[in-house]
C-alpha cells in the first residue's frame, strides 16, 4: 500500500514516550506486606482446593426450580422476546424506540425503523439509558424533608399549601426542561391556571435559546427550525456539534450521512459520485469538526466576526444590501470567500447553523439562510422542532424572584438547577428559603436534597408518556416494566395536585389525545380525509409508536384569517454586522464549555456505561479535563494529566487535569460539562472489589457549570476569559487513545515501526469518478485489489463455508465516530464495566472500539474514525495458537470463542494483529442484583480468566437461522442485524452473507472503495472497510483566489 503515503497517528505523544508511559505499568497492588505467600499457606490453599474439587465432582448440579405463570398472559411465550414501540426519554430529541423485553423486563433498546426522524437509529446515551432503569440508587418512594414518606401524606401536605396559595395568591413557579409532551404541557397549564400568580419556566441545561430569540426577531415567532441535513449539500456550522450533542444528533447524523453515501443510493446512478460539503468553524475539535471537509480553527470571539464576513459575501452575491462598514480584516478571508462561493452555488441546498448563544451570531445565520433561500428546504419553519424551548430570560427572572424571596412554591420537574446553573451556592441558599420546594428527581440530586418534598418520577421505560418532538410527529411512550419503586409519573402528580386525586397516566394521555391530537390526524392516514375512529388511531399509533399528523397550529388566536402564514416575512432590520473579533487579552484563554457525548448535561451522571465510553475524539474515560492545543500546552508546560487551575472573574476557580488536543485553537481551553455530579463517588467501587477501582476517590470529574456566563440574553458557554495556572499535581487520565494500537511498537521493531501500515485508507472523489469513467467494469465486478503476498499464503484453503460466510462492511466515509455502536454492543453482549484504574491498565472490555487516527499537523489534523472489532479472519492468527482449541473457526466464517473451554493463556490476544480480544482479569462484580437484570439472557456472562471478543452477535444469527428454518424460509439478506449495525445512525455498518453474491454486504465488499485492514498479513478478514472519501484537493477552496 505504498501508494498511500499518508501517515496516521493516534496521539500527540510520541511512540517512545508512550511506551514509557504505558498504561500497563500501573501497579496492581501497592506492596501489601500481609499478602505474602509462604510455602505453608500455599499448601493449605492447595489442599483445600483439592478437597473442594473432589467434593464438587461428587455433587450434582444444584437443584433449580422452574416457575411457570399461574395465568399465562395471551401472546407471551417464555423465552420469546416481545418488542414494544416507545419513545426515548434520555434527552429531548425523543427518538423512536423498539424496546426488547424478555420475560417481563426490558433488556435492550433498539431504534424504531418507522420513526420519521430517527429512522431506527439511536445514540449511545439512548442505548445506555436502559442501565439507568436498573439503578439501585433511584428513589424507592416519595421523601418528606429527606425522610421516607407515602404518597397520600405528601399529596395532602402539598395540597394544603397549594389551597392556601390559591386563596392568598402567593407566587407559584414550575421549573422544567423543554416539555415535548403535549399532555404534560396541557396538565402544567391546567395546574398553574388555578393560581393567580403562576408561571411555567422552561430552561434547557444546555441552552439553545439564542436560536429561538433570533427567529423571534427575524420571523416574528420564537421557534426552533427543523434542520434538514438530508437536504443540505453545503453545510456551514459555526461551532454547532450537530453530529455529537447538538439538539437532535441522531436525526441530524442520519440526514447528514444520507448525502455523503457514495455506494448505492440514487445519487450514484446519476453519474460521478458526489457528496455534501461540510465546513466547521470551531474552537475545539468536536466530533462534528472531526468529520468536516474543511475546518477553520478560530477563537470563540471570532465566530461572529467571521459570520459577518461570510454574510457580507453572501449578500454581495445575492445583490442584497448589507451594511458592514468598518469591518475588520481577517486572515481567514480567502477561506471565507471560498465558502461563500460554495454556499452561493448550493443556494437553497445550503445551510448555515450555529450553536452560539450570541443572538447576533444567530441573526447572521438566519440572514444568510434567508439570502440563499434555505428556509423551506434545509430549514423548516412550517414544521418547527420542539426539542429546545427553553427561555433564558424567564430563568433570569425566576432567579431574581428567588433572590428576593418572592416565590412561595417552586416545583422542579426534571431539571437540576443547583447543578446546571452558575452561581449555585447563592441559588441553593435562595431555594432553601422557598417555603414549598417540590422536586420530581429520580435520584437524590443536588436540587432534590434541598427540597421539602421529593416526588420521584418513573424512569421513562416504566411510564406512559407522549411526545411531539417536531411539529406533526407525535409518538407514545409505553411502560415496558412495572415500576420498580413506589414512583409516580409527573402527569399523575400534577393531576393529584390539580384535582385532588392522581389519575392514571394512561387515562390522562388518552383523554388529551382524544381532544387535541386525534382531530389533527384527519386526512393524514387516509387520503380521502375521512377521520378514523379515535380507538383505531390510538391502537395504530401505539403499535407503530409514532404517527404523522397535521402540524400544530401556532397562529395566535387573534390572527385575522385562518390562512395567515405561520411566520411573518423576514425582518432584516435586527441583523447587524459584528465588526471585529472579540479576542481575549494576551496571556489568558477563552473558555469553551461543551456537552460531552456521553454525559450531555450531566443527567446521566450515574450511568457507568457512559462514564466508561471513551470520548469519540479525546478517547478519555471517567473524567473531564481541560484541553489545550499542543502549542498552548507547550507554552504552559503542561502534559496530559497535569492539574491546572482555571480561574475567571466572579467565579470559583476549578481544578482539573490538562489534556493535549490536536486541532484546538491555541488561545482556548475546552472543558466538558456534565461531570462532578453529586453521588458519583459511588463509582469508587466499580471494578474488582478487593482493590480500589479509582485511586482518586470523590466525584467523577469536576462540575464546570460555575464558569457558564449569564448575560441578559441568555447563558453562554464559550468566550469567557479565563486564566490558567498549573498547581503542580497530576491526576492521570484514563485515555484509551493508544490502547490496542495496530501500529508496530517501537520497542519491538524500531525499523518497521516507522513504516505506515495500511490500516485506514482514503480516496478522493476525483479518483473515484476518474476511474469509473475509464474502467467502469472494474468498479463493480472485480475482486478487491489483492496484494501479491496473499498469493503465497501458507494457510491451506480448508474452510469451505457450505452455507454462509458471515461478513461485515463498514463504510468509513459514513461513520462519524459517534460511538453508539460501542454502547449497543455493551448492552447486547453483557460487557462489564471495569472502572477507571482498570481502563488505565488497558483492560477496558468493549468488543467494538472506535480507533481515531489523525493525519497532517497537530495544529490542523485530519481525522479518521475506524470502528474496530473482531475481523473474523478466514485464517485467524488467534486460532492457531490456542492450546486448548477454545477459539476455532466455524463453518459459517465465524471466529468462535468458547468460554467454557478457555483456560486463559491469552496467547490468542497476543497473536491478534487487530488487538480486539479482551481478557476477563477479574469477575467483574455482579453483586448489584438489580443491575444484573439488564443482562441479555441469550449471552453468557463471562467469568474470570477467560478471553472474549466480538461474536458478530452470534445469538442473533442463531435466532434468525432457527426461526427461518421453523418457517421453512431461507435466511433473507438483512434479516440478521448485529447490535452495532442496528443502532448506527449513519448506517455505516452492513452485515450479511458474503457467500451470497447478491447480498448487500457482498456488493459492498466488491466496491472499489473496499479494503481490508492489514490484508497483506494473509488473514482473510471477514470485515471489509470502505475507504474514506475526501473532496479533491484540486477543487479545493483556495483555487479561486488569485
Amino acid at each position: 500500500m505504498s501508494e498511500n503515503p499518508k501517515r496516521y497517528w493516534m496521539s500527540p505523544v510520541s511512540d517512545v514516550e508512550r511506551d514509557s508511559r504505558d498504561g500497563a505499568t500501573v501497579p496492581i497492588a501497592n506492596g501489601d506486606p500481609d499478602f505474602v505467600t509462604t510455602r505453608r499457606s500455599f499448601l493449605k490453599a492447595a489442599g483445600f482446593t483439592f478437597a473442594g474439587a473432589v467434593a464438587a465432582s461428587c455433587s450434582r448440579a444444584p437443584a433449580t426450580s422452574a416457575i411457570p405463570y399461574a395465568q399465562q398472559p395471551e401472546g407471551v411465550v417464555p423465552g420469546r422476546p416481545l418488542l414494544y414501540a416507545s419513545t426515548c426519554g434520555a434527552c429531548e430529541a425523543r427518538c423512536g424506540l423498539l424496546v426488547t423485553t424478555r420475560d417481563g423486563r426490558p433488556i435492550k433498546i433498539e431504534g424504531n425503523p418507522d420513526h420519521p426522524l430517527s429512522g431506527g437509529a439511536t445514540c449511545a446515551v439512548g442505548q445506555a439509558s436502559l442501565l439507568g432503569l436498573y439503578d439501585s440508587l433511584r428513589l424507592k418512594g416519595p421523601l418528606r424533608r429527606g425522610q421516607q414518606s407515602t404518597w397520600p401524606d405528601v399529596d395532602m401536605e402539598i395540597a394544603a399549601t397549594l389551597e392556601r396559595l390559591r386563596q392568598e395568591g402567593g407566587a407559584v413557579r414550575l421549573l422544567s426542561p423543554t416539555i415535548t409532551s403535549p399532555t404534560t404541557a396541557a396538565l402544567i397549564a391546567d395546574f398553574l391556571g388555578g393560581f393567580k400568580n403562576a408561571q411555567h419556566i422552561t430552561y434547557d441545561p444546555i441552552s439553545a435559546s439564542a436560536v429561538l430569540e433570533a427567529h423571534a426577531l427575524t420571523h416574528g415567532r420564537r421557534l426552533l427550525p427543523q434542520f434538514r441535513f438530508d437536504q443540505a449539500d453545503v453545510i456551514v456550522s459555526f461551532d454547532a456539534d450537530f453530529l455529537g450533542t447538538w439538539i437532535s444528533p441522531v436525526q441530524f447524523t442520519r440526514g447528514y450521512t444520507s448525502r455523503r453515501r457514495i455506494d448505492g443510493g440514487a445519487r450514484q446512478a446519476q453519474g460521478a459520485p458526489t457528496m455534501s460539503y461540510h465546513v466547521q468553524i470551531e474552537s475545539r475539535l468536536s466530533l462534528t469538526g472531526s468529520n468536516a471537509d474543511r475546518r477553520l480553527r478560530v477563537a470563540p470571539g471570532e465566530l461572529g466576526h467571521l459570520a459577518t464576513h461570510l454574510a457580507v459575501r453572501v449578500a454581495e452575491r445575492a445583490g442584497i444590501p448589507f451594511a458592514a462598514d468598518g469591518l475588520a480584516a481577517s486572515s481567514m478571508e480567502p477561506a471565507i470567500e471560498a465558502i461563500a462561493d460554495r454556499l452561493w452555488t448550493a443556494r437553497a441546498r445550503g445551510l448555515v447553523i450555529s450553536s452560539s448563544q450570541d443572538v447576533s451570531v444567530q441573526l447572521l445565520c438566519n440572514f444568510m439562510n434567508r439570502t440563499i433561500g434555505a428556509y423551506g428546504t434545509t430549514l423548516d419553519v412550517e414544521r418547527p422542532s420542539y426539542q429546545r424551548l427553553g427561555d433564558d430570560r424567564d430563568l433570569a427572572g425566576l432567579r431574581a424572584e428567588l433572590s428576593r424571596g418572592e416565590v412561595a412554591a417552586l416545583f422542579v420537574a426534571g431539571v437540576n438547577p443547583v447543578y446546571d446553573l452558575p452561581d449555585a451556592t447563592a441559588l441553593a441558599g435562595d431555594l432553601r428559603r422557598v417555603p414549598l420546594l417540590v422536586s420530581t428527581a429520580e435520584r437524590p440530586d443536588e436540587t432534590a436534597s434541598l427540597a421539602t418534598f421529593v416526588c420521584p418520577a418513573h424512569h421513562y421505560l416504566e411510564s406512559w408518556d407522549d411526545t411531539e418532538a417536531v411539529s406533526g410527529v407525535v409518538s407514545l411512550t409505553q411502560p415496558v416494566i412495572a415500576p420498580l419503586g413506589d414512583t409516580r409519573a409527573l402527569i399523575e402528580s400534577l393531576s393529584a395536585w390539580t384535582t385532588g386525586t392522581a389519575q392514571p397516566a394512561l387515562d390522562l394521555i388518552r383523554g388529551h389525545w382524544e381532544r387535541a391530537i386525534h382531530p389533527r390526524s384527519a386526512g393524514t392516514s387516509d387520503p380521502a380525509g375521512v377521520a378514523e375512529p379515535f380507538q383505531t388511531f390510538w391502537d395504530r399509533t401505539l403499535e407503530r409508536g409514532v404517527a404523522d399528523i397535521a402540524p400544530r397550529d401556532e397562529r395566535p388566536a387573534s390572527a385575522p384569517s385562518s390562512r395567515a402564514p405561520a411566520v411573518r416575512p423576514f425582518d432584516q432590520s435586527a441583523v447587524l454586522a459584528i465588526l471585529r473579533p472579540d479576542a481575549p487579552p494576551s496571556g489568558s484563554f477563552a473558555l469553551v464549555l461543551y456537552p460531552n457525548i456521553g454525559m450531555l448535561d450531566g443527567r446521566h451522571g450515574h450511568n457507568a456505561w457512559l462514564h466508561e465510553l471513551p470520548d469519540p475524539v479525546t478517547k478519555v474515560t471517567w473524567d473531564n479535563y481541560a484541553s489545550f492545543s499542543p502549542t498552548a500546552a507547550r507554552q504552559l508546560g503542561v502534559e496530559d494529566g497535569d492539574v491546572v487551575r482555571i480561574g475567571a472573574d466572579g467565579a470559583q476557580p476549578i481544578e482539573l487535569p490538562a489534556f493535549v488536543q490536536p486541532g484546538q485553537h491555541d488561545a482556548t481551553v475546552a472543558i466538558a460539562l456534565g461531570y462532578g455530579r453529586a453521588g458519583t463517588d459511588r463509582f469508587a467501587s466499580v471494578g474488582p472489589p478487593w482493590f480500589e477501582a479509582r485511586r482518586q476517590t470523590g466525584l467523577v470529574g469536576v462540575n464546570a457549570a460555575a464558569l457558564v456566563t449569564t448575560t441578559e440574553a441568555g447563558r453562554r458557554y464559550s468566550g469567557r476569559t479565563v486564566t490558567v495556572a498549573t498547581v503542580g499535581r497530576t491526576r492521570q487520565l484514563a485515555s484509551t487513545q493508544i490502547h490496542h494500537s495496530l501500529a508496530v511498537q517501537t520497542t519491538f521493531a524500531p525499523s518497521i515501526s516507522q513504516e505506515p501500515r495500511p490500516i485506514v485508507q482514503e480516496v478522493t472523489l476525483g479518483e473515484l469518478s476518474g476511474t469509473s469513467a475509464t474502467g467502469g467494469a472494474a468498479a463493480t465486478s472485480a475482486a478487491p485489489p489483492e496484494s501479491g503476498l496473499r498469493e503465497e499464503s501458507l494457510w491451506p484453503a480448508d474452510h469451505p463455508y457450505p452455507e454462509h460466510r458471515w461478513g461485515m462492511a463498514v463504510d468509513l466515509n459514513a461513520c462519524t465516530g459517534c460511538s453508539a455502536c460501542v454502547i449497543a454492543c455493551q448492552a447486547e453482549n453483557n460487557i462489564p464495566v471495569v472502572g477507571q484504574d482498570e481502563v488505565r491498565r488497558k483492560r477496558e472490555m468493549h468488543w467494538i472500539r472506535i480507533d481515531r487516527y489523525y493525519s497532517g499537523t497537530d495544529a490542523e489534523p485530519e481525522v479518521v474514525h475506524q470502528p474496530m472489532l473482531c475481523q473474523h479472519c478466514g485464517h485467524a492468527p488467534c486460532e492457531t495458537v490456542c492450546p486448548v482449541l477454545a477459539t476455532t473457526h466455524s463453518d459459517e466464517g465465524l471466529n468462535q470463542q468458547v468460554y467454557n473451554r478457555c483456560v486463559g493463556t491469552r496467547y490468542c490476544a497476543n497473536n491478534c494483529p487487530y488487538k480486539v480480544r479482551r481478557f476477563n482479569w477479574f469477575d467483574y462484580p455482579h453483586e448489584d442484583r438489580l443491575q444484573n437484570l439488564v443482562f441479555n439472557p441469550n449471552v453468557t456472562v463471562r467469568s474470570r480468566g477467560v478471553m472474549e471478543k466480538c461474536t458478530f452477535c452470534v445469538q442473533r444469527i442463531e435466532e434468525v437461522k432457527i426461526e427461518a428454518r421453523r418457517l421453512g424460509q431461507p435466511v433473507a439478506d438483512g434479516a440478521v442485524k448485529t447490535a452495532c449495525q442496528q443502532v448506527c445512525p449513519a448506517e455505516a455498518i452492513v452485515f450479511g452473507d458474503l457467500r451470497d453474491p447478491n447480498s448487500r454486504v457482498a456488493t459492498l465488499a466488491r466496491s472499489r472503495r473496499a479494503f481490508r485492514v492489514l490484508e497483506d498479513l494473509g488473514t482473510d478478514p471477514g470485515v471489509h472497510y470502505l475507504k474514506i472519501v475526501r473532496h479533491d484537493p484540486a477543487a479545493a477552496d483556495e483555487r479561486r483566489r488569485g
Binding site: 437443584a63 465465524l894 445469538q955 442463531e958
Partner: protein
C-alpha cells in the same frame, strides 16, 4: 490408614460413576405428584399440548396453571375415584386448585390471588449452553430421543446424560442418517450452542 481411605473412595467413585455435575438419573420429587405416565401414556396427550413453547421458543416451557384447568375445570377426580359412589376430589388436584385460589366448588376465593407452582427442574444444561427446542422440533426430532420414554414415568427422570459428547454424537449421526428419513444439517460448530 491412607490406603484404606483411598480404597474406600475409589470404590465409592466406581459405584456412582458420573461425570462431575452430571444429573443423569435425577428424579426429583415434584410439588404435585403429576404423572406423565397417566397423561402422556394412558391418555395419550400430545407433549406439545402442554409444552407448547417447544415449537416456537427456545424453551419447551412448563405449562401455566390455566393450561391444566382446560381439562381439570371438569375433571376433578381420579379414574378410580370416579367409580366410587361418592367421588372425591383428588388431593393432588386440590394443590392445583389451591394454587389458583379456588374453593371446593372451583369458585375464586375472595382475597386470595393465584400463586404459581415451583416445579423442580429436571433437565437442565449449564448457563453457557444455549439449547433450542425449536430447531429440534422443526427437524422432527422426537421428544423421547432426549427425554426418554416420559410416557412410562410417573415421576420424570433424566434418562440421558445431556453431556456435550452425547449431543455431538447425535449431531454426527443424523448428518449421516437424517431424521425421520429426511436429510438434515446438524451443525457441529461450537457457536451453535455456546455464545
Amino acid at each position: 490408614m491412607l490406603a484404606t481411605a483411598l480404597a474406600v473412595s475409589l470404590v465409592t467413585l466406581a459405584a456412582a460413576w458420573r461425570l462431575p455435575g452430571s444429573n443423569q438419573g435425577y428424579e426429583p420429587v415434584q410439588p404435585i405428584a403429576f404423572s406423565h405416565k397417566l397423561h402422556a401414556g394412558e391418555m395419550q396427550l400430545s407433549c406439545l399440548y402442554c409444552h407448547a413453547g417447544a415449537e416456537t421458543s427456545r424453551y419447551a416451557g412448563i405449562p401455566a396453571l390455566n393450561v391444566c384447568m382446560n381439562c381439570h375445570a371438569k375433571v376433578t377426580t381420579s379414574f378410580a375415584a370416579q367409580q366410587q359412589a361418592q367421588p372425591m376430589e383428588s388431593p393432588e388436584l386440590r394443590k392445583l386448585y389451591d394454587a389458583l385460589a379456588l374453593d371446593a366448588a372451583l369458585m375464586p376465593v375472595a382475597g386470595r390471588s393465584p400463586k404459581p407452582i415451583a416445579w423442580q427442574k429436571v433437565h437442565r444444561v449449564p448457563d453457557f449452553v444455549y439449547f433450542d427446542h425449536r430447531a429440534h422440533i422443526t427437524a422432527a426430532v422426537q421428544c423421547r430421543q432426549c427425554h426418554g420414554s416420559i410416557e412410562t414415568m410417573d415421576r420424570v427422570r433424566q434418562v440421558q446424560s445431556l453431556a456435550m459428547g452425547w449431543c455431538i454424537n447425535c449431531h454426527r449421526d443424523v448428518n449421516r442418517t437424517g431424521v425421520a428419513g429426511k436429510p438434515v444439517h446438524a451443525s457441529l460448530d461450537c457457536v451453535t450452542c455456546h455464545y
